[in-house]
Symmetry: C2
Subunit: 352 residues, 2 copies
């Protein structure tokens, strides 16, 4: 692909200092990064440079008003060294949907794909083959204009940084159903990958962690009765042989993994219902033994099986299960992502 | 006051390039800034340096997760050149309340006041005497740790930057009552000056602006029937001779101007009720002529009189009024702030 990107390469590499068997998620970055500034009403010349700190005015609006959106994606390498992305068109559409909700300009499709492609080709050594290995890609957009009136900026920076990853959560997780705190309001920005949605969850999540739960499953702000999402993951519940996940809304993120799993259920003849799920339904199912599985679904973790949940001081341990839908779906997803299975829906995108 | 701050002064000043009669809010900054980094579990040596861009890693969590809070304050100078802040203890308490909600470390009280004092003394020429003139102070805290896992940072920067200001809104404003979009959820972060609360309002506000309204008055996310706040201001409604403002909650900011006005009403024998106000109550009052005034109350604008509001495609123009409570309260506030009236509640804080 011919590129319009201005590329400045590193002359050496940091890769030999990295222990790929002991990666801590999101702390190690590759040799290069992509960025493109928006000013005077348009996106400027895209740049690839060595990964490095950058200079920002203390009045940059992102520091004051959280005008920032991001995406999470992964690149995979097969045994032949081919590099694949998984449904990047979905991330492209969603970052612009998030931007629109925060009054930020949309990023051009050609810059997005060219940026990803050139960056991945330069840093391809950082993508290790083998199921479970991946390179996490973080496109994001921040308001850079130095002006602290509470209104949309006129200047932005779109960036992509890359971080080699193992699975996000190592094992099974214990979760707390939210009873008091909430993540999103009707008419708010819960559906967007808006930066502020995440910081808002840190304190309630830290309280849950003190009680021994890694994640919070958010409920609606109104009644705290409808189970919604886990903040960094959508959530699936299995009652008997039916999977259930909440419909997307202006409170719930339209997850790429979530929608792919719904399609895979169809392919694998697993019954999957998209409907509201209440706390009482899940507690009842847990008590009568019909609740078989709960798992989170997201790019970072693919599938995060839940081993226990708590609500209103009641603890429920989930049973060990043989034919886990979570395991089956994770295995299917990983095989498609790593070019080890047929890609009947055209989800793989080869980077070349 | 003896200082523990490490101070590096500018050798010249930018002040002679500034047109103080034509200031655009939040775009001009003084010669110096204050900052203090948090790492290894504690706040480090505070610094005052020339105002300048700073270097940040692209993975700094503030860029990805909106982990950032701020305050808005003003400094005033009287005719003798004395410098005053208005209830800075309230801003100090609130920034730490905001930080706690976003799982950020609290900032020490002595550093906060020493930082403000030393910075204002250095840049005192930027505070012009005269009612209406002020120096806007922006303390803020951002998550600087370069790590993109969705969890609280271990490193932060507390900063104060200063911007000379005229009144935030020049004239009367036209406002739209929110019918679909919302600002905050129960159990969310609406009460905090969390960065993400502001970006979330930009798009709905831009839609209102296209219709000719400068601001949105937010309603509850549930019913859109309770009038809450204006995003950068609390709101007061006057029906006949009674002022009404919504009670603070986990959705509504506990504004310093709001609470000071409630006290001033008591001092001035104006009846002020703190209670829920519904859209229908205000529309009915507008129709029968008992709605006399609406105004916003906040640090930047002090009082912003509303001249018209729209709800459900119905437009209501407010009457011109002689004994405006908004004008009376604004005048009283400004006199206290500028050391032109008795300070019976000890709100003024002299900087020396």
């Amino acid at each position: 692909m011919a590129t319009t990107i201005n590329i400045t390469k590193r002359t050496d590499t940091k890769i030999n200092n990295v222990d790929f068997n002991n990666l801590i998620f999101g702390t190690v970055f590759t040799d290069h990064m992509f960025y493109c500034d928006y000013k005077d009403g348009q996106w400027q010349q895209p740049q690839i440079t060595p990964y490095q700190a950058m200079s920002f005015d203390p009045a940059a609006r992102v520091f004051h008003y959280g005008q920032a959106v991001f995406e999470g994606m992964k690149a995979y390498k097969d045994e032949e060294g081919k590099i694949f992305l998984f449904r990047p068109d979905q991330n492209f559409k969603r970052i612009n949907k998030s931007s629109a909700r925060l009054a930020m300009p949309e990023f051009p499709e050609d810059f997005f794909f060219e940026g990803l492609t050139e960056l991945l080709k330069l840093d391809s050594a950082w993508i290790k083959p083998g199921v479970g290995n991946s390179l996490y890609l973080r496109p994001f957009v921040i308001a850079t204009e130095p002006a602290i009136s509470a209104s949309p900026a006129k200047e932005y920076r779109f960036m992509i940084i890359l971080s080699p990853a193992k699975a996000y959560y190592a094992g099974k997780v214990r979760v707390l159903f939210a009873e008091k705190f909430s993540r999103a309001a009707n008419g708010g920005v819960g559906f967007a990958k808006a930066a502020g949605n995440y910081a808002a969850q840190f304190y309630p999540t830290s309280l849950a962690q003190k009680k021994g739960y890694q994640q919070v499953i958010w409920t609606d702000a109104n009644s705290h009765e409808n189970l919604e999402e886990a903040g960094t993951m959508n959530v699936f519940f299995r009652i008997n042989d039916t999977l259930i996940t909440a419909p997307t809304s202006d409170r719930i993120l339209d997850g790429v993994t979530r929608k792919s799993l719904i399609q895979l259920c169809d392919d694998l003849n697993i019954n999957c219902e998209v409907r509201n799920i209440t706390v009482s339904e899940i507690k009842t199912a847990a008590k009568n033994g019909s609740l078989k599985e709960i798992f989170g679904a997201g790019t970072a973790a693919v599938i995060s099986p839940v081993e226990a949940f708590e609500h209103a001081e009641e603890l429920f341990e989930l049973p060990e299960i043989e034919n886990s839908y979570g395991s089956l779906l994770k295995d299917s997803m990983l095989k498609i992502q790593h070019n080890l299975a047929e890609d009947k829906h055209g989800w793989r995108y080869e980077v070349r």
